[in-house]
Structures are given as C-alpha cells and as structure tokens.
Assembly symmetry: C3
Homo-oligomer: 265 residues x 3
Amino acid sequence: MHDAMGQVLAKLKQTRPLIHHLTNYVTANDSANMTLAIGASPVMASEIQEVEEMAGHAAALVLNIGTLNAQTVEAMVVAGKAAAARKIPVVFDPVGVGATAYRTAVAERIIREVSPSVIRGNMAEIKILSGIRTEVKGVDSVADETDAAAVAGRLAKELNCVVAVTGKVDIITDGSQLTRLDNGHVMLTRVTGTGCMTSSLVGSCCAVSDCFSGAVTGIAVMGIAGEIAHQRLAAGEGTGTFRIHLFDAVSTMDDATIRRYIRLI
Amino acid sequence: MHDAMGQVLAKLKQTRPLIHHLTNYVTANDSANMTLAIGASPVMASEIQEVEEMAGHAAALVLNIGTLNAQTVEAMVVAGKAAAARKIPVVFDPVGVGATAYRTAVAERIIREVSPSVIRGNMAEIKILSGIRTEVKGVDSVADETDAAAVAGRLAKELNCVVAVTGKVDIITDGSQLTRLDNGHVMLTRVTGTGCMTSSLVGSCCAVSDCFSGAVTGIAVMGIAGEIAHQRLAAGEGTGTFRIHLFDAVSTMDDATIRRYIRLI
Amino acid sequence: MHDAMGQVLAKLKQTRPLIHHLTNYVTANDSANMTLAIGASPVMASEIQEVEEMAGHAAALVLNIGTLNAQTVEAMVVAGKAAAARKIPVVFDPVGVGATAYRTAVAERIIREVSPSVIRGNMAEIKILSGIRTEVKGVDSVADETDAAAVAGRLAKELNCVVAVTGKVDIITDGSQLTRLDNGHVMLTRVTGTGCMTSSLVGSCCAVSDCFSGAVTGIAVMGIAGEIAHQRLAAGEGTGTFRIHLFDAVSTMDDATIRRYIRLI
C-alpha cells in the first residue's frame, strides 16, 4: 500500500487531472487549494445548464452537500449521472446528513440516482446512511466509533462502493478489503472544512488510481499533513497557522514523507 | 466584567455550542473558523427547506446580509422566527444597510419579523437603523462616531435588544448598561470580514451567557486578537499574516490574556 | 510607466475607491482581501434588486464568471450596464470560457451588452473570445502563447477595450499601445484564484487611472508579489504560506518595490 500511495502522488503531478466539484460556499476555496496542493486541477462549476458538459472534461467528480440548496441538488444529480455514464469516479461527501430531514432525503437521492464510487463521512454520517439512529448535531460527528468497521463494510457491500469513515482512526473499506489508518491530529477538528478537503484529496487520488487505493491515499495525506502541521507550530500559534501548514504539508508531500509517517493498523 | 469574560471562554470550550449561520459567501469560511477558534461549533445551512429544523439544534443563530439574495432572505426570516420561538439568541449583522434601498428594506424586515437579541454593526449601519441619514459607501463605515452611545442606547431601548457598535471605540449597550471598549487595531479594517467574524464570536458567546456579556466578550476577544496579531508581525509581513495571527490569537485566548489586554473605558 | 504605477498605488491609498464585484464563491474572499491589500475597498453585492444602485456608488466594477449561475448572470448584465452608463471601468474576467457552451454564450452576452473596459484572461480564454478554436480544460489554460500579442491586439481593437493576457509573459494592449511583463512565478498557478485576484487588482487600479495603465499596474503588482512570496519561503513551506505571502507583498508594495522588481520587455 505504501508503494501505491507514492505512485498516486507521482501520477497526479504528471497528469494534473481535472476534478469537478459541486460543493459548499464555506469551504470551496480550501477544497480548490487542496486539489491544487496535491497536484490536480479543480473546477467548481455548479450551474445546471453547464454541469453535464463540465463533468465531461473531468477525471473525477466531488459532490458535497455542506450548504446544499434545491437548485444545486438538481445540478449534482445531473453532473453525477454524467460522471457515472463516463465511468469516472464520483466521491460523495454527505455533510451533516441526519441533521435535517431534507438533508437526509437529498443524500439518499444522490446515492440512489448517482451511485457514488466513494462515500466519505464521519461515523455519525455513515451510521445515518446505514439506517442506524444516532445523534447528529450540526455537521460535526458525535457518534461513537464502536462497530465502525462492521457498519462501513455492510454499507460498502450494499451500495457497491468504497466507504471511508474519517475520525480518530480512519476506516476505508470496499466491503472486502479494509484499511485502518491511525494518522491525524485533533487540531484537524478545530479547522472548518478538513473533511471537505479530504474528500477533494480522495477525488484527486481516485482520478489516477482505483477507488480503494485512492481513498486510502487521500485520507492518509490529510492525516499526515495534520501531524506535520501540528509539529511545526511555534509558541503563540494556533488554528490559523495550523491551517496554513496543512496546505504546505500537502503541497510538499512525497513518497518519503508518507513512508515515514504512515500508520496502518 | 473581566471575570465574566474568562468564564464565557471556559464555558464555550466545555460545551461547544452549535452556532447556526445564514451568512454571506465572501466571509463564511472566516466566520466558521472564528467560531471554531473560540471553542464553538459552526453550521452554515441556508436552504429554506431545512433552516427551521437546523435552527432547532442550535444554541445561537447569526444572520448576516453581506451578500443577501431574495431566497436567503426568506430563509433568514424562517430561521430567525424558529430561533426566537426557542428563545435562543439571534445576532443580526446588517452589513451595508443604507447602501441600497433593498438592503435597508431587508434589514428592517428582519428586525421587525425576527426581533434579534443583538444587532452588531458599524456606526453608519447603526445610524441608518436608527433612522438617521448618514453617508454609506459600500459595506464600510464612513460615519463619525459622535453621539454613538446615545444613538445606540436609544435603538437598544426601542428594539429591546443589545446594540453593539464596533469602530475605533466599541460601544455595547442594552439601553441601561453600557460598556466602551478601547481595544483593536487599525489593521482590522484592512482585512475583509472582521466585522462578520466579530458577529460570529458574539453569537458564540451569547450561546453560553446573557447577550450583553456575550456581546462584550465577543467584541473584546476580536479587539485583543487584533492587537496581538499586529504585535507579532515581522518585517515584510502585511495583511495576509496579520489575518492568520487573528485566528491564532482567538484560538489561544484565555482569561489571563483578556485581563492583560482589556481596556474598558 | 514605472512612475505611473507608483502614482496609481499612492492614489489608491489616498482615495480608497469602492470596487463592486459580482464574482464567484470560490475566490470571493481572496478578491476582497486583495482589493483591501492594494488600498481599495471591496463590495460584493450580487442580488439583482440592488446591483444597479450599488454600482452607482462604485468607482469600478469587476465581473467574474467563475461559478456563474443563471440569476447572477442577469445581475451582472444589470450592474454592467449601470456601470457603463456612469462611465466607470468594468473589468471582465471570462473564467473558463470555452469549457462549456453555456459559459461561452454568457461571456459573449456580457461582452455584447456591457462592453467591458478591460478583459483579463489566460491565453486560452482570450483565444476563445477571439473565435480561435483551442483546447480548454476546466478553468486553467493549456493554450500555447504564440501569436498572443497579435490575437490580443486584434480583440482589443474589435471590442475597443484593453485586453490583458496573463501567463508566463503577460501582455496588455489597447490595440495601439502594448506592454509585455516578465514578472511572476510558477507557484502562482498552484494557488486558486490568482487570476481572479489579479482582476480585482486591475479593477482597483483602473478606478484611479486610465484602463491601460491600470491593467498594467494591477498585473505587475501580482507578478511582483508572486516573486517576493516565493523568495520568502523557508524550508518545509509550500502553497499555503506562499498564498499568505502574496497578500503580505501586495499590502506592503510601494513605488520602490515596483522599480526594483519590474521587468517590462
């Protein structure tokens, strides 16, 4: 798996694949900059009249419902179907699913009509999608992580996709293969959009590899970046500088860094 | 008041209240990161089909009309009424009111239909809401600050809310109590969204205290952060680094820092 | 030309002109902060009911179709006509034109109905607007730069405006005058929105000078900032810190810095 990760990063820098996003207005800038940092090229078009054609240029599509609205949901479905028809990977980030009935209905519709290749969320979001009742407070997870692997595995088999659960320990599974990652740092939870950025990294990696390896690589890169970002903090620095270090770490990440930091468990 | 501020910060970190925002797309990321920096948890849902339910999870609501549009205004009113019905604090940031007739009408409608708990604006915005003719150029204030306390006090009494006027000297009043703060730095006017971020800090603080103390604490935290951010600038650094320091300073702020810097006048 | 640039910067800081933007949600924050960094004052109103009145306060208008949608396009046309009627400069950034038929139709409509004073794009975008078939992949240019000056010059004459092509070498022409700038750094292509930010700098400069000098100054400031931002990078730093240095460099730029770095060819 280490070898695969280094190859994914190298291939991204060679090919600079176009990653089409329909995402939220809170973290769109961060997602675009993370996509560039890892070596891919972002485009954020979301007008329904152009999303099908734009998805036709892309090597992967990222759908994120952080600030969903009725119009963009329609555009997500159109873009998602176009991507699926072209057999390019679709990464779905069901931000805050469960927090409102509308959000849950939209997430279920996207899954049903688009059949995403990868679903990346926190444990609460993945539990909701699995039909398990859990407490959701806004867009951040409060679910406990027991049985996480079993829940993720069942959902992956049911939907025939990769399910990635990010949290203290990350779990990535396609229903048969399963990888656990023990990278990351708690400060990642004190910066908005680190989940969204991870989905963009996953989308970028899936554009140049199979979706299981792509999800593992994207999530590993963010976890390692979180550790490096924290290590480099000086006295008096906090979440502002940490966030800048994240972009620095991803944009300078290479095979040697991954080998040094990666903790597969 | 110093004691109250330290307690507000401590309580935020303990309870991490959810702060629902309907805000503008220019500074939404900054508002979310400031909310996290002070210890609360942001959510930015703005689709009318879900705002009532989302407001039902929140401990405070922030309404900001920076990039208002007709759809979001309706959602703001729905969310605001839901918040008022649950008696959670509603902080209203009337960005640029007076710059256009539409913006003024929207601000007046929100005040009438939502009855915000706190209105935070610059002097020009507060004067417009008080029915005083003043020059408004875009979203930044050009009004002079004479009679500020009297204008703010009258408006607070009339609307039965806390009125906070930020500027060179900040004024916070509920019509009977009044606090003046002499913290801050002129560089805060050279970064976009410092007003919006302040409203997010106020919303966060009001979630765990009475609205007068919450407004004073949120505004004090931003003012002090501005001073620390400026002090830490090195040669060749400008508004980019200053802005990052703001987040660092808020995320590391504690009772001792407030006591050292606060200037109540 | 060097003298003119220093004067433009000085005049901006004296007058702080209001720059009205209708722009995309990905880079709106960066555009606002760049506008402030160079000394102007941004406003981002995009609701159709208020754009005409807001444009009436402004000293320049920037239209950017990065995340265009049907509603905002109508507002862009209204704002653009209001600006043209008041004879204030309109800078048009045709982000990603050619990537979809809808985007191309919108760009052509804006040019036809608004008659922008300045069009700033990369070579692929300018070629598309000139009716030359070229490969467009997302919003980043893959066109080669041969004949750039001839293409830009013809378009400038045809549309009676300034055409600015940014790339490895920047070309600014009004059809008779032509300036080439050899400033900049390749890392500018690894941060999202550097093109959008350049358009905001151009809009700011055009508010206080003729459009040809304004375009040259705005583009020179961004190119020089890119060089300074790269020089100041330390070991382990990447695109995150580079981006912050950009804002630092623009906000501290002065006549002496421009004279030291500028490379007109």
